[in-house]
């Protein structure tokens, strides 16, 4: 009762689905963000515009981290955390992108115009 050609090694649908998934990586929506939201320990939240260059420090749980905004991008310049994953993430600029530093309890997110994330 089984469909025998179901169990051939390769069929047309396979190639189609592989190409579809490979292409989908390039066509995912990427929108340039508008605002930078920096939150520390989920209690203190700061909002900065993304189009003004500036450098500032934030006091996290471990110590002060330096954040840089420039050319419409954000990055953590240096952080007191041990693994420095947040520094290695480098520049982020797209809406929905984020840098998370768990040891220092710092989350940096980029949002668009609407304020849905800030009202939490």
């Amino acid at each position: 009762m089984r469909q025998e050609n179901r169990f051939r090694p390769l069929r047309t649908g396979d190639i189609f689905i592989i190409i579809l998934f490979l292409l989908s990586v390039f066509f995912l929506p990427k929108k340039h963000g508008e605002k930078v939201i920096v939150s520390v320990d989920k209690t203190r939240t700061f909002v900065y515009p993304l189009n003004q260059d500036r450098e500032f420090i934030i006091n996290g749980k471990l110590g002060t981290a330096k954040v840089e905004i420039g050319d419409g991008r954000v990055r953590i310049l240096n952080s007191p955390c041990p693994l420095k994953i947040c520094e290695k993430k480098g520049w982020i600029s797209n809406k929905g992108d984020f840098i998370i530093c768990i040891p220092n309890r710092v989350v940096i997110r980029i949002t668009g115009e609407n304020y849905d994330a800030i009202t939490e």
């Binding site: 069929r11 649908g13 396979d14 689905i17 592989i18 998934f21 929905g96």
Partner: protein, 171 residues
């Protein structure tokens, strides 16, 4: 006779998938959270030889007992494991039953993608509200494409070797 065979094969499948699940979790991977998902071989084989009920049984037992052995029962990673397994079994079953031209390789890839997508949607909705899961998905799409093809090829090889023997036991 038939039900005895069924019990024996299901228990062997479950034991094998739990063993692979546990051993696989102990290996370090370049990106944390990405595994090969070789336990999916047995879920897919159970789906072919038996049906969705048996595949669900194996999948859920794999997640629950595997997490119990690894000591992370009822932690977030257990939740992700259960939900990903359930979604991938349902999607793979739908494709297996449909008339779409997919071989085991394609079914395995789609199952792997469904597994990671379910986990991503759950993870972003629980831990990172406000962040769309689409923005962190490219790396997971590519990695589950690779792991899904590896699992699909292995499943095809096992299936083509065991098909004749299984037919006596199942049908």
């Amino acid at each position: 006779m038939q039900s005895l065979n069924r019990i024996a094969f299901l228990s062997v499948f479950t034991a094998a998938s739990i063993t692979i699940f546990v051993v696989e979790s102990l290996f370090p991977t370049p990106i944390p959270g990405i595994r090969l998902g070789l336990a999916n071989i047995f879920i897919l084989l159970a789906l072919i030889y038996y049906g969705i009920k048996e595949a669900f049984l194996i999948g859920m037992l794999k997640s629950i007992l595997g997490s119990l052995i690894l000591g992370r029962l009822f932690t977030p990673s257990f939740l992700f494991s259960v939900s990903g397994t359930a979604v991938s079994i349902m999607v793979m079953w739908l494709i297996l039953k449909s008339k779409l031209p997919f071989s085991l390789l394609g079914i395995s890839i789609i199952g792997a993608e469904a597994h990671t997508m379910a986990q991503l949607i759950l993870a972003t909705s629980i831990f990172l509200p406000g962040i769309s899961f689409l923005y962190i998905s490219p790396i997971f799409i590519i990695s589950s494409l690779i792991t899904g093809s590896i699992v699909g090829i292995i499943t095809y090889l096992i299936y083509s070797k065991t098909e004749r023997r299984f037919k006596f036991c199942v049908d």
